[in-house]
């Protein structure tokens, strides 16, 4: 049920985001969704691709530093309060969210959010037991 997210180190300078994107484009790898985190000096590009192993090898061969992190994809109702309801469950379970971001495309009346928990396995078990729709990588 876990997604493999790739994270890439970037210097916070103009045009530094383009290089890894060019590398992925040349290898015909599609980015399903991504988010950027940044500080004054550097940034981290986090993204989900259709073939993470090939993406990782390709990026590393191009000289990038890539790490793989487990994240969970969770479906919520795409309506006011949809995220709140999910967060209530997460809070109740005492799970610490390191970061989260949304999946780019809509699925009917649902939205998909990616979560990085400090304790992925515990969060997964708890959320599933509470009936929260945690998506399977195959489903996307």
């Amino acid at each position: 049920m876990k997604f493999k997210q790739l994270s890439l180190f970037l210097e916070n300078k103009p045009a530094h985001l383009k290089h890894p994107c060019d590398v992925l484009a040349a290898a015909n790898i599609n980015i399903l969704t991504l988010s950027l985190a940044d500080s004054e000096k550097f940034g981290i590009m986090r993204f989900i691709v259709d073939d993470w192993e090939r993406a990782k090898d390709t990026l590393e061969a191009a000289g990038c530093v890539v790490t793989v992190t487990d994240v969970l994809a969770i479906e919520v109702d795409d309506r006011p309060g949809g995220l709140s309801a999910l967060l209530a469950i997460i809070e109740e379970g005492g799970h610490d969210i390191e970061y989260m971001y949304a999946f780019a495309c809509r699925r009917a009346d649902k939205a998909v959010l990616f979560f990085r928990f400090s304790d992925t396995d515990a969060a997964l078990a708890n959320l599933q037991s509470r009936g929260v729709p945690v998506l399977d990588p195959v489903a996307l």
């Binding site: 994270s7 180190f9 981290i44 000289g63 530093v65």
Partner: protein
């Protein structure tokens, strides 16, 4: 941690016989050769003749090895000032080879060899390889640059004379180096330690596990490297990393070498006479004190060097080495008396920065020190390439890493410096010597 490969036991090789001369005999030989070289320099090289005259000394005044202290020093600037051939003691028809070092500033320096000099050079390189545990039958990949730089040809001739198989691949083209190493069953590699780090990093990226190859020894020289860098190389790749010492002005590689005991580097004293001086006063320091290494060539025909100031900081180790060699040793050269820089009144050596970086993550990333001056105040920034082991995927994690590096540097240097995390492969890679310090201060 890579497994350590079975190494040669360093048994006696006949080529190394001069390494084991009884000390009194060695001293007698040194004095004979010293007197001869001083006579040769004074009678054949106007530069030395004038220096000796100024000081009112003649070759006959050298009656004991201690008398060497009466002789003047020779400096790198003297080689530049007499460029190109001013220090030659042989007519050009007897000079069979010229090498030159690329002067990083101004003119290069030129060094010359007679046929006999080339043979001596090859013999000290054979002794270097033998001391490092290599022998006939080894397959040696020589990644020192071939050409004007003395490293390539010096190691090449020595390796051939040892009876090894030499692969004269020269520097650069790292992917081909790795392929050749794998395909040819290379057992020993000669290159600079910083180039080996680069090569090991690239091998990893290519999925080549160096510890699975027959490669068992690295003969590393031409730049200072730390003990912690050695530990890192050895535990990471399973090879034995040996330190060798040399400089073009004296002969090239082959001035000194570690033996398998690795308690310092034996100087091939029958050809090169070592002294340690106080770099400020020029006074010879008592045994066991740290100072600048000064070398006198005892047998060089084409270009004798009298008391050449190497700028390398070390000390002479005089107690007998368990390996049985009677040659005195120098401590590994960790720094040069001139690559030190002073920032806000603090003396700093790049090796200290290395120590701090290693403390934090246990591996040595590529780094570069940049010095600038802002509003009259010196600033020091250390750029560190992020490696997969270092990279945490949260901003918090990277900021913590930055803080740990700043703290470790402050602890080692006594100075708070800026740390910049940069993308891999963005700091200039050298195929030869690493350029660690960029000084952009306008003084």
């Amino acid at each position: 941690m890579a497994k350590r490969k079975v190494d040669h036991n360093g048994e006696f090789q006949i080529v190394s016989a001069p390494d084991y001369l009884p000390v009194p005999q060695l001293r007698t030989l040194q004095l004979q050769r010293l007197r001869r070289i001083v006579e040769r320099a004074g009678s054949r090289v106007p530069f030395y003749r004038e220096r000796f005259k100024e000081l009112g000394i003649a070759a006959e005044d050298v009656q004991s090895l201690e008398d060497i202290q009466k002789l003047p020093f020779t400096q790198k600037t003297d080689l530049r000032d007499t460029y190109p051939f001013g220090l030659f003691a042989s007519p050009m028809k007897e000079v069979v080879r010229l090498h030159a070092s690329s002067g990083t500033t101004g003119k290069p320096i030129v060094v010359a060899y007679t046929d006999r000099d080339v043979r001596v050079w090859s013999s000290v390189m054979v002794r270097t390889f033998a001391a490092c545990g290599l022998h006939a039958g080894d397959i040696i990949q020589n990644a020192y640059g071939y050409g004007l730089f003395t490293g390539g040809l010096g190691a090449h001739y020595g390796a051939e004379a040892l009876g090894a198989t030499v692969i004269p691949i020269s520097g650069g083209n790292t992917d081909r180096q790795i392929a050749v190493m794998k395909d040819f069953g290379v057992t020993a590699l000669c290159c600079t330690p910083s180039y080996f780090l680069h090569l090991a990093e690239r091998a990893k990226a290519l999925g080549v596990d160096l510890s699975e190859l027959p490669l068992r020894a690295g003969i590393f020289g031409a730049e200072p490297w730390s003990d912690s860098m050695r530990e890192h190389i050895e535990s990471d790749t399973g090879i034995r990393a040996q330190d060798i010492y040399g400089l073009s002005e004296i002969i090239g590689p082959g001035v000194g070498s570690e033996c398998l005991e690795r308690g310092g580097l034996h100087i091939f004293e029958d050809h090169f006479y070592p002294e340690i001086i106080d770099p400020e006063t020029g006074r010879v320091l008592p045994e066991g004190e740290e100072g600048e290494l000064v070398l006198t060539t005892l047998s060089k025909e084409a270009m004798p060097m009298i008391r050449y100031r190497t700028r390398d900081v070390t000390m002479l180790l005089t107690e007998p080495c368990p390996c049985g060699r009677t040659l005195r040793r120098i401590k590994r050269v960790g720094r040069r008396s001139d690559d030190m820089f002073i920032i806000r009144g603090v003396n700093i050596f790049p090796s200290q920065v290395e120590t701090a970086l290693l403390q934090v993550e246990g591996t040595l990333p590529h780094y570069q020190i940049e010095l600038t001056r802002r509003e009259g105040l010196d600033q020091m920034a250390v750029s560190v390439e992020v490696t997969p082991e270092f990279f945490s995927d949260t901003v918090k994690g990277l900021e913590q890493l930055e803080q740990r590096l700043i703290k470790a540097l402050e602890h080692v240097l006594g100075l708070r410096v800026e740390v910049k995390l940069v993308e891999p492969q963005t700091l200039k890679r050298s195929e030869g010597k690493a350029r660690r310090v960029i000084d952009n201060r306008e003084l």
